[in-house]
């Protein structure tokens, strides 16, 4: 089979110029699918509703832009019925962690071999700027976070990394939309992982995020490298340790640092699979 160089479909994206989703799309179409050499007809990509949920339509694989919050269940149904498919569920913070959050712990505990890519832009962008479960919380006295017109969020943000860890996800990684090569590697590792893999992608919304949000993230972000010391936030008095993604205790320690203070990029946790999970469909 000839090597496909790009899995982009013809359709033109609806995103704003400069949107982080372009980075995610290009990681998937130009790198992940090409590098893994999975034929397009053997890939099924399903999304919910939101800006990032538009991604499947721009990829030449099988796919469905479904209804809000349900990408993960449709993905599991497809994988169970046809285990030879590579199945990717993709969507945003509102899709996976608000309306669809109830499905995640169950997808995780079943450990069905799908890859879940959550593109976190910290806001409901498609509906024009409402707070999402990951919109950073502001202390009283600080100015509104989103824009002057908007009400600031009053509830603390939901931390996707600690949520995924606490529910027992067997693969947890975090990338950033501006580093496409690194993101490509994470998604490839996630797809290769035999079990439920969860990949958080930090991105910016050029229209509804204040620019400071993403610049803070980029400034504070640090790459995790297996076998090398982790870089902890300045406020931490802990002694840095050697990163070992197979160690759940160390992953939990990473997860305790607030996202904006120290966004860790890399594979936070890659669990050893229990024997019965290797062929997820056989148990169901």
């Amino acid at each position: 089979m000839t090597q496909v160089k790009d899995h982009r479909a013809k359709l033109k994206p609806v995103w704003c110029p400069g949107c982080g989703n372009f980075g995610v799309l290009s990681a998937i179409t130009k790198r992940v699918l090409c590098n893994l050499g999975i034929p397009n007809f053997r890939t099924f990509m399903v999304s919910g509703i939101g800006c990032s949920s538009r991604i499947p339509a721009y990829v030449d694989t099988y796919g469905l832009n479904s209804i809000h919050g349900r990408a993960v269940v449709i993905a599991q149904g497809a994988k169970l019925a046809k285990p030879e498919l590579t199945v990717i569920a993709i969507g945003g913070d509102g899709d996976f962690f608000s309306i669809g959050a109830g499905h995640l712990p169950h997808a995780v505990r079943r450990n069905i071999d799908i890859t879940c890519i959550m593109v976190n832009n910290f806001v409901y962008a498609l509906t024009k700027g409402q707070v999402s479960p990951t919109t950073p919380y502001l202390q009283r006295g600080e100015g509104p976070f989103l824009s002057l017109e908007m009400y600031p969020p009053v509830d603390p943000m939901l931390d996707m990394i600690s949520y995924s860890l606490s529910t027992g996800s067997s693969f947890i990684a975090q990338g950033i939309a501006t580093d496409v090569a690194h993101l490509d590697w994470l998604i490839e590792e996630g797809i290769k992982h035999k079990g439920f893999s969860y990949i958080s992608v930090l991105t910016h919304c050029v229209t509804f995020n204040p620019p400071e949000l993403f610049s803070t993230i980029r400034e504070n972000a640090t790459y995790l490298k297996e076998g090398e010391p982790v870089e902890l936030p300045e406020s931490s008095s802990e002694k840095p340790w050697i990163h070992d993604p197979s160690n759940i205790d160390l992953a939990l320690r990473l997860a305790q640092f607030p996202l904006l203070e120290k966004p860790f990029l890399g594979i936070l946790f890659r669990g050893n699979l229990r024997g019965s999970d290797v062929e997820p469909s056989s148990g169901h």
């Binding site: 099988y62 796919g63 832009n65 209804i67 349900r70 169901h284």
Partner: protein, 569 residues
């Protein structure tokens, strides 16, 4: 000696009421008797009331009568919960073991028998008291001894009886001094063994026979038995079974599986069906075949979960935002529960659309002993239209074919990869935002279903064509309506139409309603949902009446006698 007999059994949870009824029904079925045995439960799982009403018939499949010929009562307190269903006459023979409440006036033939004590003496436990009663009933009905022993020996399901023959014999000897010839059952006309199953089991079996290999569900009363049967069946066949986290997930999983080409199903009851509404819209607009069984119970909200009603019709036909066509089918007997599941898969797959199958608690949970021919018939199995080789050049998922049904690739099929969306989309599945495409795709999805309106075979007809009085009824109510017309001897005056396919509306229904001067619509819901639906689409006769009321108790012959007699007048 008599041809049919209705036996009521009532007690508290743990008294073994359902087991007793089921054992007697199984033994009678092996001897060739037809029977139907509805189950009645209170709100509690254990310790609450439970009752069954076994209607045995030596000649044909009939319904249990309104009143009981024999009543076995383990608890009068529980009896009061079900006294409408377990009506007594002056001739009812009663066997009971608890003290009578003061206000109870009993018929003359009443026997106080300490079943528990006898069981205790013989087996060291009171738990076999229902087996003692079984022996008693066997003796009263005069079921042949040697044959019954053989049946018990052979049937794995009667293992408990094999181990309790002492209790059975003790029961057999109880009434030896009484002569009750009017309660003996004449031998079955056709002694070939009948199969015993309930609608829920029939549906699961049909799904398996229709080659459904992926099922997703969530526990709910009174539909859970379908899920349990599917789990058993699919684990043997290496199919996909998953108990989902909620009904949104069940139906979503089914949609995902269907997109790969697998025949997929889910089953639920009202509250779960509500949760599936949004996904039905997606399956309709993206033309994804799925079968959804709704075993209706009393609603709205939690309602009466263990009792029957026919009140989800509106939701099945219209539920959801936008204009999302779907098929609505409703069986009215156990044979239909089986046949129409196969039909639902055929229709879902052929027309690429969701099919909602409306059963109800009565149909789902009533045990029926019936000839098994319908299980052995060769039903055609229809698959979905697949793209051919030439499509692979430029595959348009929603290509506008003459019959408006586009070939559907399954995810994984080589050279045909396509993307689709819940957004309004064009023939390629690409998002579209213009009125023209929106209108065109609506037309495609609605008009492709038009051939179904010609499905005369999915509208059952009883009576004489030329009569000018007619009844339209549906679901489990149809059985009692047909039987009441027969019992009143009005078959020549009144014809009955039972649509199994309700949406889209078969033309045969219009031919029926326009052929009568007087029409009566009978259904079990408060607002008359089928009537309103028919009224919205057809010119019904000026003299059209509705007989509808809330569920929670099945219609009786007595209750329907007046409206049906009035119709014939």
């Amino acid at each position: 000696m008599r041809k049919n007999l209705t036996i009521g059994i009532v007690g508290a949870g743990g008294d073994g009421v359902v087991v007793l009824g089921s054992f007697l029904q199984r033994i009678a079925a092996a001897l060739g008797y037809f029977s139907q045995m509805p189950r009645y439960y209170g709100a509690q799982i254990r310790g609450g009331g439970s009752a069954v009403k076994l209607g045995l018939d030596a000649e044909r499949l009939s319904l249990p009568k309104d009143s009981t010929d024999i009543l076995v009562c383990f608890s009068w307190e529980r009896y009061l919960e079900f006294k409408q269903e377990m009506a007594l006459t002056e001739d009812t023979l009663i066997a009971y073991e608890n003290d009578l409440p003061e206000e109870m006036k009993l018929p003359k033939r009443c026997f106080w028998i300490d079943f528990s004590r006898r069981s205790q003496e013989l087996t060291g436990s009171t738990r076999s008291k229902n087996i003692v009663v079984l022996g008693l009933l066997k003796a009263i009905l005069a079921l042949p001894n040697i044959q019954v022993r053989e049946i018990i020996e052979k049937d794995e399901e009667l293992k408990l009886l094999q181990e309790n023959l002492l209790a059975l014999e003790a029961g057999e000897h109880l009434f030896r001094e009484h002569s009750l010839p009017e309660l003996t059952l004449s031998p079955a006309r056709d002694p070939s063994a009948k199969v015993v199953l309930h609608g829920n089991a029939a549906m699961a079996r049909a799904a398996s026979d229709a080659e459904c290999r992926s099922f997703f569900g969530y526990p709910i009363t009174p539909a859970a038995e379908i899920m349990e049967e599917m789990q058993r069946g699919l684990s043997r066949k290496k199919g996909v079974f998953l108990q989902a986290e909620d009904e949104i997930a069940s139906v979503g999983l089914a949609v995902g599986a269907s997109l790969t080409g697998a025949k997929s199903m889910t089953s639920t009851s009202g509250p779960g069906f509500d949760l599936m509404t949004e996904m039905i819209g997606l399956a309709s607009t993206d033309e994804i075949p799925i079968v959804i069984i709704d075993v209706q119970r009393c609603g709205p909200s939690t309602g009466i979960p263990s009792k029957s009603e026919q009140s989800d019709l509106n939701h099945a036909i219209y539920g959801g935002h936008g204009d999302a066509p779907r098929i609505v089918i409703a069986p009215y007997d156990v044979e239909g529960c089986y046949r129409l599941v196969i039909e639902s898969f055929n229709i879902a797959e052929y027309f690429q659309t969701p099919v909602v199958l409306l059963s109800d608690q009565w149909l789902g949970q009533t045990f029926v002993a019936i000839n098994d021919e319908f299980l052995r018939k060769d039903y055609p199995i229809i698959g979905r239209k697949k793209p051919s080789k030439e499509h692979s050049e430029d595959y348009h998922r929603y290509q506008l074919a003459e019959d408006l049904i586009s070939p559907m690739a399954g995810a994984g099929d080589e050279l045909l990869a396509y993307q689709t969306t819940g957004l309004t989309h064009d023939d390629k599945g690409a998002p579209a935002f213009d009125h023209k495409t929106h209108q065109k795709m609506h037309e495609k999805r609605w008009k492709k279903l038009a051939p179904l309106c010609q499905r005369d075979d999915l509208v059952k007809f009883f009576g004489k064509e030329e009569t000018s009085r007619g009844i339209v009824t549906w679901g489990s109510s149809a059985q009692i309506v047909i039987e009441t017309v027969r019992k009143l001897g009005l078959q020549n005056e009144i014809k009955v139409c039972v649509p199994e396919l309700i949406h889209p509306l078969p033309e045969k229904i219009e031919r029926f309603t326009s052929s009568v001067e007087r029409l009566l619509v009978i259904e079990m819901n408060y607002s008359g949902q089928l009537y309103r639906y028919l009224h919205s689409l057809l010119d019904l006769p000026r003299r059209t009446e509705v007989c509808s009321r809330a569920g929670g108790q099945p219609f009786s012959n007595e209750e329907l006698t007046e409206p049906i007699t009035e119709l014939a007048r």
